[in-house]
Amino acid sequence: MESDLAAGFERLLNTDQRIEPRDWMPEAYRATLIRQIAQHAHSEIIGMQPEGNWISRAPSLRRKATLIAKVQDEAGHGLYLYGACETLGVDRADLLDLLHSGQQKYSSIFNYPTLSWADIGAVGWLVDGAAITNQVALCRCSYGPYARAMVRICKEESFHQRQGFDILNTLAHGTPAQQAMAQDAVDRWWWPSLMMFGPPDDASPHSAQSMAWRIKRHSNDELRQKFVDITVPQAAAAGLSLPDPELRWNEQRGHYDIGPIDWAEFWRVVKGDGPCNRQRMERRVQAHEEGRWVREAAVAHAAKHSKRSGADQAGTAA
């Protein structure tokens, strides 16, 4: 019986069809997806912090409105992803507990600080740019709810990346001090953005299984290369340089070559020793605790309302 079910699962994968929540799936497939989607969801809501940091100091009303919309989108993306993860049979409250206790991770990129306004540009252009490169590939992930959440997220992310580029491009054509601020932000965010794609293929033990399950469609190094190839000409267009003396076009490969990535730094930050790990977690737990009364009030309101008017729900389905 189990082997029939496994054969059915394999058949769906091999014919490039999607797995849906109530289908049979191997426990390891389910566990891998829960871990990956939860980490992705956590990254979206932790990612609100470095950008939220600049809402009150945005340089104009237009930039402020844009930034608020973007941070709200990140919250929305987190909710799409928690929703997708819950279809695998986990509770959202448990996922938040796992984040708050450090048992589940979020993307290490958010453990870097946003020191200047230009960092908001660099986060949008580089960090969201790298995320989009990853997420476009995930739109064809074998798990239906995750793929559908990705389609929605990718549509919204392209605004994020453009507004980021627009901030940096504006600064890069501004006063010498503004130009220096833009370049400084790019210098700090370039390498961590390249690390977002994860360890090189030969040091990424789970990649092969995820590729076989069609959760992942491209290897870490392929996606990183794709991002580099897209981004280098964009940097040139804005008049910004990328902090890699070995970066150059390789005619033979038809790709840009890059210098070595500092993987020791990557693992240091993953393991908790980045500039902001502690601050991000403290803020997240604090926000959750301080929101408790709002959640309780909403429940009390719903209870009171349902007692008062049993059946008068607004509207009918027509």
Partner: protein, 94 residues
Amino acid sequence: MSRDWPLWEVFVRSRRGLSHIHAGSVHAPDAQMALRNARDLYTRRQEGVSIWVVSSSAITASSPDEKDPFFAPAADKAYRHPTFYDIPSEVQTL
């Protein structure tokens, strides 16, 4: 017993003339708050002109285990499709 608020499925009509399509789900303590949460989550860019929220527990679904037998009655009825019928080539607009 879950510590989460009840789950609601969200259906959005993107514009007049189209039917509501499943967009995703939200947690909320009651239907009114589910509607507001769904508005904030699924229509931030004018994706909808109307939203339904339905308690997830109110949905009855066909079981994936029996999907072959459940949908089998339709499989051998090709005569329900117009392409089943051979029409002489000189006959137009049929």
